[in-house]
């Protein structure tokens, strides 16, 4: 089968639409897919232009099987968004090769729409809006070209068609966006692979885990406080408590049998704030040390005084929590819990164990002992660094007496180990510390680079007390941020800016992103409900949604109808035509369909013989205004009409 040039006007648009739809996925897909798509598109366009033979069916079959196997090889399956969208791109390329009819073109355009959707499933950055309107606009232009039944029109005409369609659709889009009832999903299980799921905290901590995180500038969550934002040194966001130690790594204990009654005695005022967290595919949530109320029914307060979601968080989540910054926890501990919290496996880190017992014997109280350990960190040449040397089996020994270069998890781990070695219950808390206030939006932005680990030790009359050994080594980490703490060792956090102007831009950009998250990505059943309540509809049910949605759709459509009708109204008459009509009214005789002016004048003159000459002269003025090049014919015609007595006046 040969290309015959019938599709020459629409194929370039369809190729452009496919490429535009695929654009955001280029970076995340294997390069051969992009290459395949571009090659097939190029060949098909050339075939249409040069009237070449289309690729025979057997070649398409071979290419189809080959690319299917290649996708299987790359992704190890076809389930999920990433392999699905890769297959979609391959299908589009193959379909292009065989496209030779209007129907084929529509199939390609539908593939194009699904490619846009697939791009959104793989990420919804703020640029998505530009992408949505851009890619959809090109698709619409291609659609106009493909749907064209008559003789082909210019490319600009198709683009204008798309522009008209989109601008009329925009108000309807807004109404549907705000009013279409949002049902909380999901209806069926979705593959857990939300973007950035693997960057984030984890429920085990070995040396080097958190320093890896600190190299990521990705957003973790944002928080807005109802009152003043707490000082940087008070911003400890707890997420996971790890109290099980296997000699090298700490992990969270899943054993729920050993329960411990929670009792937080607040020593200061409560802080109320709202957190909007990015999806983690995990269940833990972030709360300022110490949370006293859970945000909602879908959340739990664990016995470690951490917040946990009942379901893995695989989409953006917003919740409001109350915390107290100054508190005392339960001052009593059961014997078996005490044993558990002081447990250390035998034989590991003998030097650190020895050192701790020694120090404990020299100190009067637990507080004194803890301070001595911290002083040791501060006075000895310990360094805070993002790239600590690797540690062997006795990691604490090697760190404390050897390398002395480490990140927060090294200090927390070593400190907790020495506490337990001396019989003081200790555990690790992982979460985030600090965050950056956006001066424009007033909210706090916490990134992966703010990930932190610290310790809690149990003192008999005070309960669990937070001790952050990192603060002893690098107080700037706590007072300011990671970047300033690292500057001493000459390191930088990737993506941190120096210039004030860049900093300001970054702040503004962060604000835009926060609003985007809040108003676009976070728009859901809750936001919609708030909107209805703002409208004055308390407790809206689905009927309110339907009524309001239908009413607004109908009114917008009515406006569109009037607009289209207005655009279609006959062109306004020119001055000469208006004057000719005025003459007809004045003379008392109307023209008949298809009657020429001079014929009319004869008829009108016959009806009013006394004015026949006058009418004849006026019509000749009209003819010269219409067909001649006299400049003043129209004003003279008007004067002539005024001079003509109206029929009624004459009678």
């Amino acid at each position: 089968m040969r290309a015959d040039g019938r599709l020459a006007h629409s194929l370039p648009f369809i190729v452009a639409a496919l490429l535009a739809a695929f654009l955001p996925q280029i970076a995340s897909k294997p390069p051969w897919i992009t290459l395949f798509l571009v090659t097939c598109a190029g060949y098909r366009l050339l075939a249409e232009r040069r009237r070449l033979r289309l690729t025979p069916a057997w070649i398409r079959t071979v290419l189809g099987l080959g690319s299917f196997i290649a996708v299987l090889q790359v992704y190890g399956g076809i389930n999920g968004v990433a392999p699905g969208s890769a297959l979609l791109a391959v299908m589009a390329a193959l379909k292009l090769l065989e496209t030779n009819s209007q129907r084929d073109q529509f199939v390609l355009l539908f593939i194009c729409l699904f490619m846009i959707l697939a791009s959104f499933l793989q990420g919804q950055h703020i640029w998505s809006v530009v992408y949505l309107f851009g890619a959809f606009g090109v698709t619409l232009a291609a659609w106009s070209a493909a749907a064209r039944d008559g003789a082909p029109r210019s490319g600009r005409w198709y683009v204008r068609e798309a522009g008209v369609a989109m601008s009329l659709a925009l108000p309807l889009l807004l109404a549907l966006w705000v009013l279409f009832p949002r049902v909380p999903g999901p209806f069926w299980a979705i593959p857990t692979e939300s973007g950035g799921a693997n960057t984030g905290l984890s429920s085990t901590m070995s040396p080097g885990d958190i320093s890896k995180l600190s190299k990521s500038n990705a957003l973790s969550f944002r928080a807005s406080f109802e009152g003043p934002t707490p000082e940087p040194s008070q911003r400890y966001w707890r997420a996971i408590v790890m109290d099980r130690f296997d000699g090298r790594s700490w992990s969270a204990n899943e054993n729920w049998a050993m329960n411990e009654p929670n009792a937080i005695v607040p020593n200061g005022s409560e802080v109320r704030y709202t957190v909007r967290m990015e999806p983690t595919d995990q269940r833990w949530m972030y709360a300022l040390d110490m949370p006293v109320s859970r945000g909602g029914r879908e959340m739990l307060m664990t016995r470690f005084q951490t917040l946990e979601s009942r379901k893995p968080i695989n989409e953006r989540k917003e919740y409001t929590v109350v915390s107290v910054l100054d508190y005392t926890t339960n001052t009593r501990m059961q014997r078996e819990r005490f044993n558990y919290n002081t447990f250390l496996p035998d034989g590991v880190n003998p030097r650190a164990r020895e050192f701790a017992t020694q120090l404990r014997d020299d100190s009067g109280s637990v507080e004194d002992f803890a301070n001595r350990v911290l002083t040791h960190f501060r006075t000895e040449p310990f360094y805070y660094t993002l790239s600590p040397p690797p540690l062997g089996r006795n990691s604490v020994d090697e760190f404390v007496f050897g390398t002395r270069r480490g990140f927060c998890e090294h200090y927390a781990s070593a400190f907790a180990f020495m506490m337990r070695a001396a019989g003081v219950p200790a555990r690790i808390v992982a979460g985030y510390q600090g965050g950056e206030i956006n001066p424009l939006g007033g909210f706090l932005t916490v990134r992966q680079s703010d990930a932190h680990a610290w310790t809690e030790i149990w003192i008999s009359n005070r309960g669990w007390v937070r001790v952050d050994p990192t603060a002893a080594v690098a107080p700037q980490r706590i007072e300011q941020n990671l970047d300033s703490a690292l500057r001493e060792s000459g390191e930088r956090v990737p993506g941190a800016f120096d210039l004030p102007i860049m900093e300001r831009l970054q702040v503004a950009w962060d604000l835009v992103n926060a609003r985007w998250d809040e108003w676009v990505l976070g728009f859901g059943p809750e936001t919609q409900r708030n909107f209805f309540e703002w409208l004055g509809i308390e407790n809206p049910d689905w009927r309110d949604y339907i009524v309001l949605l239908t009413a607004s759709l109908i009114s917008i459509m009515a406006v569109i109808t009037v607009l289209l009708w207005w655009q279609q109204r006959p062109p306004t008459r020119d001055a000469a035509s208006r004057a000719y009509r005025a003459l007809q009214r004045r003379a008392g005789t109307r023209t008949m369909r298809g009657e020429a002016p001079l014929t009319w004048a004869r008829r009108a003159g016959a009806a009013r013989p006394t004015q026949a000459e006058h009418i004849d002269a006026a019509v000749r003025l009209y003819l010269s205004a219409r067909y001649g090049d006299e400049q003043d014919a129209v004003p003279r015609l008007r004067r002539a009409i005024r001079a003509l007595p109206s029929q009624r006046a004459e009678a």
Partner: protein
């Protein structure tokens, strides 16, 4: 054995369409041209592409809900909004269009009849991708600029001599995105005369005796023999211009002479027994006589055309052949 294991739905569907056609005709009544297409007579339904589009919208809505994907919702809503806007624009594209006339020039049996629908766009906006249908026959697709008049041509094949009657023409457009089809039904009785197909293998035309020799008094064009009143169809060559200048009345010059023969083309002289075959032969004789510049008349068992010549006379003769025996017209649409 039937090729499909399922009972065919075709009779059911045909019955349904007949019923709809009857209902529409009753609802709209007969049309007289010119007419303006008002909303009352415009119908709109999704095309197959439009139905697929709707299903895709629904699938995308489900997907967006399941993944709770905000931009997915935005895309879905944009699609729905585009569809709704397309519906309005599709309807507006036909509403207010004026249908001026429908005509079809006569054709020979076996040729395609050309039904021309003349439409005027009196609005201030271009009307796009207008087309029409008669039965299964699709018409040309045209754009009509603001204030212009244009023709949609629908070709309908003819089979038999006689007439092709069209009771219903549909005028439609899928503009803007081919998602919806807006159409109207015109109930205008239009006939296309179908002349007999000229026989390719017609025997030579028998020369009637009256043509021989040219008797006295027989009219020719050699020698001037006087003036008579002008009759429509007379050649301008025959008009007596000097006489016109003197008397202000049209008169034709008459000649006598032998070189122009008057022929009678007679049904009875056509060979064969099949009337249709005979009519075909007669048709080819008429065409031959006209081409030869002869004066000729036509004699059929039920009609006679007095001798004359010219294209109009030829057409009159062919029309008479088409009407011979008052055949039932074929119906289309």
């Amino acid at each position: 054995m039937s090729s499909t294991p399922w009972p065919s739905l075709r009779p059911l569907r045909a019955g349904f369409y007949r019923r709809v056609a009857r209902w529409v005709r009753k609802r709209q009544g007969d049309d007289t041209l010119p007419l303006t297409l008002r909303s009352r007579r415009l119908y709109i339904l999704p095309t197959p592409v439009g139905t697929t589009f709707g299903i895709v919208c629904f699938a995308m809505l489900l997907g967006s809900m399941n993944y709770n994907n905000s931009m997915g919702f935005a895309l879905t809503f944009l699609l729905v909004a585009t569809g709704l806007v397309a519906m309005h624009r599709c309807h507006r594209n036909l509403a207010g269009l004026e249908v001026i006339a429908v005509h079809a020039a006569p054709v020979y049996a076996g040729e395609a009849a050309h039904f021309d629908i003349e439409v005027t766009n009196t609005s201030g906006r271009e009307r796009v991708e207008l087309t029409g249908r008669i039965g299964r026959n699709r018409g040309s697709v045209i754009d009509v600029k603001a204030g212009n008049t244009a023709r949609i041509r629908i070709e309908v094949p003819t089979k038999r001599r006689g007439a092709l009657a069209v009771a219903r023409i549909s005028l439609n457009s899928r503009y803007p995105l081919a998602l919806l089809n807006c159409w109207t039904w015109l109930h205008v009785d239009t006939r296309c005369t179908v002349w007999p197909r000229p026989a390719d293998d017609a025997p030579a035309r028998p020369v009637s005796p009256s043509a021989d020799g040219g008797r006295a008094g027989e009219l020719g064009d050699e020698d001037f023999s006087g003036l008579r009143d002008y009759r429509e169809g007379d050649s301008p060559r025959l008009i007596a211009w000097k006489h016109l200048a003197r008397s202000d009345t049209l008169a034709s010059k008459q000649f006598s002479g032998a070189s122009v023969s008057t022929q009678w083309i007679d049904y009875d002289t056509a060979p064969g027994t099949d009337p249709e075959r005979r009519l075909s032969v007669l048709a080819s004789w008429i065409i031959a006589a006209e081409a030869a510049g002869d004066r000729y008349g036509l004699t059929l068992p039920d009609a006679t055309v007095t001798p004359a010549r010219g294209a109009a006379h030829r057409d009159r003769c062919l029309d008479t052949l088409a009407r011979f025996g008052s055949p039932e017209p074929d119906h289309a649409g």
